[in-house]
Every structure is written in structure tokens, then in C-alpha cells.
């Protein structure tokens, strides 16, 4: 058997295998993410308006209790075991809003509760949150530094 016929066999196999490959439904995923993510933000907007109209918050400060409330809802849904059903369906739709962040923390905390509060809950909570906080903080530092230097040079 020569080299070329080996390659032929491989090529034929590739073509055969690719037909049965599960195609990643990117477009469908994006649509689901768009709708669910949008809905979560709409609920967040309703919550924000609730705080704006009924308490002493203005447009700037109302986002704080809103985010805290959304996180609380996400943690509760995680605790009751309901969150995963949404997350599987929606993909980035639930992962990108703060709900994803809260769910990652809460589910890790609940999962590892048997290992004790310090090494179980305490250290596992930050598995996903850790990189987010580290990179966010470092990026913010660099951005703020560059901006401050530019301002001070211009002034």
C-alpha cells in the first residue's frame, strides 16, 4: 500500500465521519442566549424601577440594590435546584448576567458544604469568581492608571 492510498482512505473516512458529527448549533444558541439574557435584564429593569420609585434611590444608585436582589434570586434558584434547568437551556443567557456569577459561587458553596466551612465552602466558592475578580481588578487598575496619566499629562 502506497502513501497516496493511505491518504485516500483517511480522506474518505473524514468525509464519512463529518456527516455524523453533532453540528454545534451556534445560531440557535445565540438566539436562546439573546432571549433569556434579555429577559433577565428586563426583570432587572423592573426591579430597578421598583427601587427607584419606592425608595430613596436615584438612577445612579438604584443599580446597587438591583444587582444584590438579582444575585439573591439566583442564589435561591440555585439552592432549590431549579437554576440548572435554565442554565442548560440558555447557555450564555444565564451565564453572562450576574446570575451566572452568583450561581457559580452558590453551587460551589453548596456542593462542598460537607467538606466543612473553611476548606469546603470557603475555598471552593471562588473557583469561577476568582479569575473574574482578579482579571477585572487588574484590568481596571491598568485602565484607570492609563487614564489618570493621560489626564495628568494634559493638565
Amino acid at each position: 500500500m502506497g502513501q497516496s492510498s493511505q491518504e485516500d482512505i483517511q480522506k474518505t473516512y473524514q468525509q464519512f465521519a463529518s456527516k455524523d458529527e453533532p453540528k454545534r448549533p451556534v445560531i440557535m444558541n445565540c438566539i436562546k442566549a439573546f432571549i433569556i439574557g434579555g429577559l433577565i435584564c428586563v426583570i432587572g429593569q423592573a426591579i430597578q424601577n421598583f427601587y427607584l420609585y419606592n425608595f430613596d434611590f436615584n438612577e445612579q444608585t438604584a443599580s446597587d440594590p438591583t444587582v444584590a436582589t438579582v444575585i439573591l434570586i439566583a442564589v435561591l434558584l440555585t439552592g432549590f435546584g431549579v437554576y440548572d434547568k435554565f442554565a442548560q437551556y440558555a447557555g450564555a443567557g444565564t451565564a453572562v448576567p450576574v446570575t451566572g456569577f452568583a450561581n457559580a459561587m452558590a453551587s460551589a458553596a453548596i456542593e462542598h458544604r460537607t467538606e466543612g466551612p473553611v476548606f469546603g465552602i470557603g475555598s471552593n466558592m471562588f473557583k469561577l469568581a476568582g479569575p473574574v475578580i482578579v482579571f477585572g481588578t487588574t484590568a481596571a487598575f491598568i485602565v484607570a492608571l492609563v487614564k489618570t496619566i493621560i489626564i495628568q499629562l494634559g493638565g
Binding site: 439552592g79 443567557g93 487614564k147
Partner: protein
Amino acid sequence: MMYFWAFVVGGLICVIGQLLIDVAKLPPGHTLSALVVGGAVLDGIGWYEPLIDFAGAGATVPITSFGNSLVHGAMAEAEQHGIVGIITGIFEVTSAGISAAIIFSFLAALIFKPKG
């Protein structure tokens, strides 16, 4: 009106996340970190606050707003105390989100039992 744009902008940010996961093949940790950094950079350029003015919760609920808040806190302190202010001010505005997540998650771990 605000509800419509909150839906659209929030949805679009999630689509960006979905594309990072599906097309760029980034795992969730990388995706979220990238989005937070994106939020920080957008605030540095001065584009994130107008987005919040326009889309409300569509811009404050996604994780990108963490990045925005971090830069905001840093810049607010830097205006008063110079470069040192960057470090002292970073967590000033974000504290609500992070504190809530930590406290509620810990309490949840005390109350709820893991499934399965």
C-alpha cells in the same frame, strides 16, 4: 422604552458571550473574565456610562458592569487622591455585588443540601 432597550442590549451582550463560548471556544471562566475586562476598557473609553443611560438594566445586570464599576471607583478616588486613589478606590462601587454574592452564597451553603 427602557424595557425594550434593556432587553436588546442585555441580550446582545449575552450573544457576545455565547459567541466567545461557541466560536472562540473559550471556557466559561475565560469568557466571563474577558467580558469584565471588556467592561473596564469600555468605561475607560467613556462608552459604558452612556450605554447604562440608554439601556438601564441591560447594561448594569451583565457581568460587564463589574468591570465598569471597578474603573469608576478607581477613577473617582484618583480624581481626589491621584494615582494612589486608583488602588484605594477600586472596590468602592462594586462592593454591593461582590458582598451580596459572597454572603448569600455562604448562607445558602448553610441552608441548602446538595442535589443528587
